[in-house]
């Protein structure tokens, strides 16, 4: 007799159906997290990411391929820099952790760098957990975990995450290290990129906290992470501590809300499937069965953005011109509704949005006429 289905396994089963037969789930990677941050309210993104659908493949199958790509120059440079930072058993990296985050501790003259190799993500996760527990047995020592693997429960299924490094301090606390290849120029760096790194690190911190909660006594997971970047125009590493409490709080709340994918899944018609193998029209219908809240910010965050933008424009949604556009439009949401209201052809003149639109249209017309004279 099969074991009774719990809510969790039922959902997992349902999500596997949505992905399509034999399509493996895609991990919640940095891009998916960026999309979550850019548009947490989008049901379409939520269900696709929650089900582990490969959105890039889906976008191509829909005929609106995503424009994300990485230059091999950037890739080479990034890898070379990370290798340099971690060279010599991570001596430089640990020196930076000590200098920026834990000056009162004994300087890391030597450090434990355990081997984390194992088979498959589950194996690597177990290996990482084991080594973190092991580190607790070495108080007073520094431990560097190079590319550990962490699991985070996202909507009932584990998402695997791979931080660049995690450092165990002599006092037993844990620090997430992010190594990025954008420069730290005269002490400052591109704020948008630092923000993205902070959000990424916040997810790692949450995963580490889940793990720490299962260790007795629970180690402290530090809420200041270390960001390591090339200094100025060199490839010498420079580091800065980043306070990620904000990002952690927001991400924690958003991740718990991901459970609503269950509700979204329930609204989908029976047999809905997002497999890129399906014909484009079937796939389009499947995607359209979940509402999206497209905004231009999606273009730099979500693989499906061009598809959603096309749909948003077709329906004349004003949001396709940017979220702020809606601010003064009240209940009017389409281009034609707004223009009709402005021209006086529709809308209740008692509605302040309509009244303001008419005044705006009149003032604009007056100004353009004045300019023509």
């Amino acid at each position: 007799m099969p074991p009774p289905r719990t809510r969790g396994t039922a959902l997992r089963h349902r999500l596997a159906e949505l992905r399509g037969p034999d399509v493996p789930a895609k991990a919640l990677d940095a891009r998916a997290l960026a999309a979550l941050a850019a548009n947490p309210g989008c049901a379409r993104r939520a269900i696709l990411d929650g089900a582990g659908v490969n959105k890039a493949a889906l976008a191509s199958a829909l005929g609106s391929p995503s424009a994300f790509g990485q230059s091999q120059f950037a890739l080479t440079r990034g890898n070379a820099f990370e290798a340099k930072v971690k060279a010599d058993g991570g001596a430089e990296l640990l020196r930076l952790v000590h200098e920026k985050l834990d000056r009162t501790a004994e300087p890391p003259a030597e450090a434990r760098v355990p081997d984390l190799t194992a088979t498959g993500p589950q194996g690597r996760t177990a290996r990482t957990a084991l080594e973190l527990r092991e580190a607790a047995a070495h108080p007073g020592a520094w431990t560097l975990l190079d590319h550990p693997m962490l699991a985070l429960d996202v909507a009932g299924s584990p998402a695997f995450l791979e931080p660049d490094a995690v450092v165990v301090h002599p006092d037993g606390s844990w620090t997430v290290v992010e190594i990025k290849s954008f420069p730290l120029l005269d002490g400052s760096a591109d704020p948008a990129k630092v923000g993205a790194a902070a959000r990424q690190a916040a997810v790692y911190v949450l995963a580490l906290e889940e793990l720490a909660a299962r260790v007795d006594p629970s180690p402290r997971v530090r809420h200041r992470i270390l960001l390591v970047c090339p200094r100025d125009f060199s490839n010498l590493p420079a580091a800065s501590a980043v306070d990620i409490r904000k990002q952690r709080a927001v991400t924690a709340r958003q991740l718990t809300r991901l459970t609503r994918i269950e509700d979204i899944a329930e609204t989908l018609p029976e047999g809905t499937c997002f497999s890129p193998e399906l014909p484009a029209d079937e796939l389009t219908a499947a995607v359209e069965s979940v509402p999206a809240t497209y905004a231009p910010e999606c273009l730099s965050a979500c693989e499906l953005a061009f598809h959603c933008r096309g749909r948003s424009r077709e329906t004349g949604a004003v949001t396709s011109l940017g979220r702020p556009v809606r601010a003064e439009l009240g209940g009017l949401t389409t281009v034609e509704d707004v223009l009709a209201a402005a021209r006086g052809e529709a809308g209740d003149p008692g509605d302040p949005a309509v009244a303001a639109l008419r005044r705006a249209a009149a003032l604009r017309a007056e100004a353009l006429e004045a300019a023509c004279r």
Partner: protein, 530 residues
């Protein structure tokens, strides 16, 4: 976003063409701007790959770094760039006119007028997009602390002679570009976006090709169709037909075309170095030249479309009549340019890496003042901008329906006429709110006295600019039937308080920064990338 600009964007969607966001041109355009279309290498901190630069639309100068990781080749690029930019800048530095400036006399402490040189015109740099401005700053920062062999014979990897100077100038351009309304360094997407509202979002407007597609779509296409094509259309090789305006390149270009070409170049170089005799070297030099040519062609193919678009943008902007206050703001740019010219001539060190407390505060004060000035001047110059201010209750226009003569109290009564203006606007007027109108280019102030019962008429008391006599000078008081426009914002900006000199920085701000020392050059390592 104001409702007026929202409406303009929606109309653009509906008509398929960008709509005016301004009725006059609010930025100065030089007769001879220097257009700079740079490309960089992905993943490196400002390592240039190449550029098109020049003042002649038909003859841009192509600069290329065939192996961007090679320091010597980068220096050669920067030296070439200096050879184009510095003579252009120098040409403006040499022509001066006499002007007056108020200075504090160091002995008496009084404000006195002194006669000084002011450059008769200033150079103007145009880059395709905002990211281009960032790159100008980054290049400036990377060069200005470099040492030439002449400055420091011990310097490892000395920079070519004029490179540090170029760094100082690019830094100045980049810093000036932060001042609202300045025009020494402009990003084409910003200037176009200021004057037209497209049917897409401001984020999408950052794409020069898509932005121009809305403003000036090709025959037979709507703006939306043309913009989509500009954003996404790829040729048979998978390359964008409208390459990004840079400085970043498309990854598909890097991976499919550029990387193999650079690899061939590297191989040819290694082969040349390994040549065993002159004949072999000649052959291999030929191969190297061919490999370099290939990269040059690639860079040209990615920059030329953008180069043409920048000039197309300039054509479109030149069709707009120039705003009345643009010249005045350009004069401020000329002062800024002259000031930096004088600092360079006086042998002052390059701009420091970080501003000291006083400099930072002074810059912030200047920029806030210029922002307020820009907002006021754009409204005064352009009825469409004024319409936005009227909509938001910061200005009102209407017809004078009544003028009652009144006088101030006191020994010498002065005219204080009461003017009733009928307006459909809804200004945020409170008790004695000051309002201003432009009278012969000067602001005349009035105060709000009250509103008529129906709320559609406001009564104002005119306060100044009526001459010294008991009766107002002719034309200084609006007459019944006149159309008038009053603003709640001031037209001219007051100067702020003088901050202490840097050497008198107070203890709250860390005390004096100490002797200005020549900042050290960036450390270099053998594998340095810039």
């Amino acid at each position: 976003m104001s409702l007026i600009s929202t409406l303009a964007r929606l109309e653009a969607v509906s008509t398929g063409r960008a709509q005016p966001a301004a009725t006059v041109r609010h930025r100065h355009l030089s007769d001879r701007p220097l257009v700079f279309v740079p490309l960089i290498t992905a993943g490196e901190a400002g390592a240039p790959l190449g550029a098109l630069v020049g003042t002649d639309r038909d003859a841009p100068r192509l600069l290329v770094v065939p192996q961007p990781r090679d320091r010597d080749l980068r220096f050669a690029f920067l030296a070439e760039l200096a050879d184009v930019v510095l003579p252009y800048v120098d040409a403006y530095a040499e022509v001066v006119e006499a002007a007056e400036r108020t200075e504090t006399d160091p002995e008496t402490g009084k404000r006195v007028k002194v006669e000084v040189d002011l450059c008769a015109d200033a150079p103007q740099l145009i880059v395709p997009s905002r990211a281009g401005i960032e790159l100008v700053r980054l290049l400036g920062r990377s060069m200005r602390f470099r040492r030439t062999a002449e400055q420091d014979p011990e310097a490892p990897y000395p920079a070519p002679p004029r490179v540090p100077l170029l760094g100082r100038w690019l830094t100045h351009f980049g810093e000036r570009a932060r001042v609202p309304g300045s025009s020494l360094l402009l990003a084409m997407t910003d200037v176009l976006g200021r004057h037209w509202a497209t049917g897409q979002s401001t984020l999408e407007d950052q794409h020069l090709g898509a932005l121009l597609a809305w403003i000036d779509p090709p025959e037979g296409l709507t703006g939306a169709e043309a913009a989509l094509r500009a954003e996404l259309e790829r040729d048979a090789q998978g390359q964008l037909t409208c390459p990004p305006a840079g400085p970043a390149t498309d990854p598909a270009f890097d991976n499919k075309l550029l990387a193999p070409a650079i690899e061939r170049y590297d191989r040819a170089r290694t082969a040349l170095a390994a040549a065993e005799d002159g004949l072999e070297a000649d052959d291999r030099l030929g191969a190297l030249t061919a490999a370099e040519r290939e990269i040059r062609d690639l860079v040209l193919s990615r920059t030329l479309p953008t180069w043409e678009k920048v000039w197309q943008g300039l054509d479109l902007l030149r069709e707009l009549p120039v705003g009345a206050h643009v010249e005045e703001r350009w004069t401020r740019d000329r002062w800024s340019f002259t000031g930096h010219r004088d600092r360079v001539l006086a042998g002052e060190p390059p701009q420091p890496r970080r501003d000291d407390a006083v400099t930072a505060a002074n810059k912030l004060a200047t920029r806030e003042r210029e922002q307020a000035r820009l907002e006021a001047q754009e409204a005064l110059d352009d009825p469409l901008v004024m319409a936005g201010r009227r909509l938001s209750g910061e200005a009102f226009a209407g017809e004078v329906t009544d003028v009652v003569m009144a006088y101030s109290e006191g020994k010498r009564p002065s005219p204080r006429p009461l003017v009733t203006v009928r307006t459909d606007d809804r200004p945020h007027l409170g008790e004695r709110t000051k309002v201003y109108r432009s009278l012969g280019g000067k602001p005349q102030s009035a105060e709000f006295v009250g509103a008529e019962e129906d709320g559609a008429s406001v009564v104002l008391r005119i306060l100044d600019k009526m001459g010294r006599g008991k009766e107002p000078e002719p034309g200084s008081v609006p007459e019944k039937g006149d159309r008038v426009c009053f603003t709640l914002f001031e037209h001219e900006q007051r100067g702020g308080a003088k901050l202490p000199d840097p050497e008198e920085t107070p203890w709250t701000h860390g005390g004096p920064p100490g002797e200005a020392t020549l900042e050290a050059a960036d450390p270099v390592t053998a594998e340095d990338v810039l």
